[in-house]
Amino acid sequence: MRDSTDLTPTPAQTAGPYFHLGCTTTRSVACIAGPEARGERIRLICRVLDGDGAAIDDAMIEIWQADSEGRYNHPADSRAKGRDPACNGFGRLATDAAGTCVFSTIKPGRAPGNNDTLQAPHFNVSVFARGVLKRLATRIYFANDPANNMDPILALVPEERRSTLMAFSDPHRPGDWHFDVRLCGKDETVFFDV
């Protein structure tokens, strides 16, 4: 048996093709913020594509977000007591045959960054799938939001790749925002070492 003082971290392994059984069949969360939540109501439509641009129909996306004033539903946020109780902040869904999943939520506010900065509105995103050996972490920002120019994390991303982190508003359906996760190849999404 192993020494109980050995604190080698547990490695990740792929969620495989059958994660639905444990995570989404009865435990999916499409509604991140209820209808009473304060803020701008949106639908976040995510699509996951592989290196050939083909839709991935066996991915799971998890979203973690702040409420409309940038507060997180968690004890590490000292402002959590005043947060919006209708915004739970967490969502997770499996992608469908078109590689797509749709979250119902509100646009998050600006959470504090480090060194007295403010972050632009964003979602924190985890992607799991067969063929993905460890969680891929990325962020979703809102295209053309003026706050993006001052975001301390976007500033770390080469300018030519920042567009891969943007959700784009649907010109025909106000309130719908589209985000593509491209796991590799052309226009590969920026992934973070969290």
Binding site: M1, R2, D6, L7, T8, P9, T10, P11, A12, Q13, T14, A15, G16, P17, Y18, F19, H20, L21, G22, C23, R27, G51, D58, E62, W64, A66, Y72, N73, H74, P75, A76, S78, G89, A111, G113, N114, N115, H122, N124, S126, A129, R130, G131, V132, L133, K134, R135, L136, A137, I153, V157, L183, C184, G185, E188, V190, F191, F192, D193, V194
Partner: protein, 234 residues
């Protein structure tokens, strides 16, 4: 607002790389460009918090979720969730899923020609207690073939999903069984560079949690990332 306490970075050799060509599906599904190191902000040191709501006793006993008992070797899987500083991670959600004793999942995409078991779904969830302990009762999953390479078989395994305290601590992994000859041949297991870290995923037979006349016990501890320093509490 003051800055946050970041979580410790891990030795990359303890984690699989995204691209591991012997596991073929990684080739078109892993980033080719380097990851960008993200300094932790409030966004990464917070994360979903689950409560007991919606979790029942049969959620952690996969042998009691149907009218009858599932076929197979009854087992108890018990362990402790701690962080890399040895501190327990209490009240955290642990979710599992697995194949039945014949190596078949109740899933429309599983086409393995092995029987389904009407008394086994293969889904469990529980919260760790105040000391980070958890326990599941289930049956030992079977091995099953997959199409990665010629004559490929996945070693029997149980999928684990844990949240920990933050977005940064999220972990999805798999638990294996001791002395399994398939481990040496499994590219998913072998994708972890460091032998010591690989062994972290192999449970240990545990006579202490074995119930006489009833079920074999296996111990599987999980080590999540911990904060770099004790957070300041004012």
């Amino acid at each position: 607002m003051s800055d946050v306490t970041p979580y410790r970075r891990q030795d990359p050799d303890t984690q699989p790389s995204s691209l591991y060509p012997p596991y073929r599906a990684t080739i078109r599904r892993s980033p080719q460009l380097p990851l960008i190191v993200l300094p932790h902000t409030l966004s990464e040191v917070t994360g979903p918090v689950y409560g007991k709501a919606g979790i029942s006793e049969t959620d952690r006993d996969l042998t009691r979720q149907h009218a009858g008992e599932p076929l197979g070797q009854r087992i108890i899987v018990r362990g402790r969730v701690v962080d890399d500083g040895g501190r327990p991670v209490p009240d955290t959600l642990v979710e599992i899923w697995q194949a039945n004793s014949a190596g078949r999942y109740i899933h429309k995409k599983d086409e393995h020609l092995a029987p389904l078991d009407p008394n086994f779904t293969g889904t469990g969830r529980t919260l760790t207690d105040a000391h980070g302990n958890y326990e599941f009762v289930t049956i030992k999953p079977g091995a099953y073939p997959w199409e990665n390479h010629d004559n490929a078989w996945r070693p029997p395994h149980i999928h684990f999903s844990l949240f920990g305290n933050a977005f940064a601590t999220r972990l999805v992994t798999q638990m294996y069984f001791p002395e399994d000859p398939l481990l040496a041949l499994d590219p998913i297991f072998q994708s972890i560079p460091q032998e010591r870290a690989r062994q972290r995923l192999v449970s240990a037979f545990d006579l202490d949690s074995t119930k006489p006349g009833w079920a074999l016990g296996f111990r599987f501890d999980l080590i999540l990332r911990g904060p770099e320093a004790t957070p300041f509490e004012g």
